[in-house]
Assembly symmetry: C2
Homo-oligomer: 464 residues x 2
């Protein structure tokens, strides 16, 4: 990426000052909420609301125009309609603004007339060496800078996963699901019509962003699919990238075109090419969050050998099924491992001892699970462990045992705590703080494990 | 089903009296928790803990033996090990108990010796005309009778969906996910080794159970797959049945055999036969809950024509994709419908008007969505509407508009409220009380809609 673009993207994600154009006193309006989002997220830089007549808004002094702002402006957020936006972009250029976020739609997704309008927008940005987020976007978020430049005021937990999304609504779905899953967010951007900044530009930027450990991408379609996949493949060599490409049904081409002016392209071709470049492809927002969560929290395993310790067989069969479908294997346990297991469960426990290892009744007591997890983790063919437990009113979860086993072995551990979302929260916080992602359904746990295995094999891990 | 079996199943699900064998004073033990579960759920019948030496447990008097219990016992729950269970089952027979729940494993899933033990268990039950739930089961639940005969004390919201599950752990996953989704439960049974009661027996029972509107089934494998599918197909002609069959990967056969002594069988053959018999097949616990929720709450549409009203295009593209993959169609809107839409949005709104209908900025105000939803619902080719809204700190959700549109049209409506699980709860309660299932991700909404479309077409609905 050219140094200039990199610098501009830095100013967009880490602005010292933000101007908000199109603010009003009405909370019904986009502009009001753009301003409130910035305040609400706790942005520590300067905030300059701009309006030709108002004196103050939400406790801040209002400036009559961009010109009146007494210092340079890094980022301008424009909440006016598509025609007025063009004029504001010109003013931003004259002010020396580095990046603009253009919220309004009504451009190339609307056909010829809109396309011409967007071309003028791009020309204005180019003239002043500005970059445009959007147009036709929800905006962007950077929790590292307490920055929320969308019109959805919200507070998000900080974390290591960043998202690039071709849909604000799908991107919001992913954010909310991440909150439900206890997954912290780093950066988030709705790319909109990709007028001067392509998905691949954001990917290159996030690749160099040290605070981003994993990148999730939602794609409807792009005109430069080849460059996108090449860049993503390059990024994924050192930082995991997860793709959700809509369009399996073939029914979405027209819908994508009229949404963000994008060609959906053949899903199968897209998928094959993504996979050729070593990228992980998922099929839902749920799988996206599950995959990013594992990649953000757990280390990449040495190979694709999965061990399971459980007290309930059914969920381990679902794990086996889902993970096997995605390239994982469940190695037979070594004789020495079996010996250690029998020391815990006895010579003739009322279950068949194998991997997945079902300790049945004895596994309901957390203390028994500790040595079993350690034995399985020590097995030379096991690269990652899934620890399964059904939360119980009277019984202690094996959280301490899982933490100990993880620390002792160094191999990644994923927990499946079968529970409601509410009840798992307390245990989850501790486990998440120690590199152990926790899921509440076997499918989501399997999607998380499979994401880790994918990048294990991509990086030359042992294929068992 | 023979009248005797039907009567026994009635006594199992609606017992007047329950004996608990194997209770102790230690909350670590299964028996303690079996008793606590029954008390905790608020069971109104008589509860008889049985122990040879203890005087009282959890506030209840303890009986030395089954014989000492002064009245007939409908249901006995046995928490002792597999060998002791056999003796207790004999005692139950002599006492005239109608049904027994045998929790312990260690039977046919353990090979020849266990198989012989299970044959003796079955022989004892047959001798006294008892039916056995299990062995090797978590137990059963009937919220209609405030009955929880599992060793997981919990309180569940009442509802219209019943589950038959070949795994306690997967069954618990489904229950917890249902709670997270605001879906009420009716009955739930872990079939275990299916010694005298097959999945098909429970299905036939639930088919006649007026309080069960929808049945979800989790299957690992069965020896009598043909009968199961025939019975399920018959049941599904008047009551929706949803199947989750594990085993897509082919890796699970041995795991299923050693879990509940079941042959997993070929997944593809299973799936094809299930579909031939008109049954809905899902691929995860998440899809199971999403599908059952729609079927329990919304009426079956007249045909497979889906309309969407949204203010955010991306989630509607995911809906389009997922629903199209599952047999739904998105008809073009009639000229008259378009006319009504333009009355709301103007002649030249900054979006392309079509189905899915994206009202963009204008759709963020709930009041605008009302007439749009009504117009789309009135369209002759639309059989079901999905209303999409991203929850916002300052903006009102279109809950009132959705309720009005649903009531006015009579056609089913599904809401996609993009939100965290926590924030959606208040709106959800109202919508759920009025036949409108609410989801927080487009995929789950699509799975719900697709379940409704499946049964619409199965019942001769219009294929558009």
């Amino acid at each position: 990426m050219p140094a200039r673009k990199q610098d501009v993207l830095d100013s967009i994600f880490y602005p010292h000052s933000v101007a908000v154009i199109g603010v009003t006193g009405s909370s019904d309006r986009v502009g009001y909420n753009l301003l409130q989002s910035i305040i609400h997220a706790g942005f520590q830089g300067r905030i300059y609301p701009v309006h030709p007549r108002l004196e103050s808004l939400q406790g801040l002094p209002v400036y009559r125009s961009l010109e009146e702002i007494p210092e340079p402006v890094d980022l301008a957020v424009i909440g006016v309609n598509q025609l007025a936006t063009l004029e504001v972009v010109e003013q931003c250029g004259r002010k020396g603004v580095k990046g603009v976020v253009c919220i309004a739609g009504g451009y190339k997704e609307m056909g010829e007339e809109g396309k011409a309008l967007e071309e003028r927008l791009v020309a204005a940005a180019r003239q002043y060496e500005m970059e445009v987020v959007g147009p036709n976007t929800l905006g962007l978020i950077n929790t590292r800078a307490n920055l929320n430049v969308t019109f959805y005021p919200m507070q998000l937990p900080r974390g290591k996963v960043s998202f690039v999304t071709q849909s604000g609504g799908v991107g919001l779905t992913i954010l909310h699901k991440a909150v439900d899953e206890g997954l912290g967010i780093n950066k988030w951007v709705g790319v909109g019509n990709r007028s001067t900044l392509e998905i691949s530009d954001y990917l290159e930027y996030l690749a160099r962003d040290d605070s981003t450990a994993v990148i999730g991408v939602f794609v409807e379609g792009t005109d430069d699919a080849r460059r996108l996949v090449q860049v993503a493949g390059e990024v994924a060599r050192h930082k995991p990238v997860v793709f959700y490409k809509v369009g399996r049904s073939g029914a979405v081409s027209h819908a994508a075109l009229t949404h963000t002016g994008s060609m959906a392209g053949s899903y199968q071709v897209y998928r094959q090419v993504l996979q050729q470049f070593g990228l992980l492809v998922v099929d839902s927002t749920l799988e996206m969050v599950a995959a990013c969560k594992a990649l953000a929290m757990a280390p990449i395993p040495r190979g694709n050998g999965v061990g399971v310790v459980t007290h309930t067989a059914g969920p381990s069969i679902v794990l086996l099924d889902e993970i096997s479908l995605r390239g994982g294997v469940f190695p037979a346990l070594a004789g020495s491992t079996m010996g250690r297991i029998k020391e815990v469960l006895g010579q003739n426990p009322p279950v068949v001892l194998k991997n997945p290892l079902d300790a049945a009744g004895q596994g309901m007591q957390a203390a028994n699970l500790g040595p079993l997890m350690e034995a399985v983790l020590d097995d030379p063919c096991i690269d990652i462990l899934v620890a399964v437990y059904c939360l119980h009113l009277n019984w202690r979860c094996p959280t301490v045992e899982i933490l100990d086993a993880r620390e002792r072995s160094g191999k990644p551990v994923v927990a499946l705590y079968i529970s409601t979302g509410e009840k798992v929260k307390e245990e989850r916080e501790l486990l998440h703080s120690r590199d152990i992602p926790v899921y509440t359904t076997p499918e989501e746990a399997a999607w998380g494990v499979s994401a880790l295995l994918h990048y294990a094999l991509q990086r030359g891990g042992i294929r068992r």
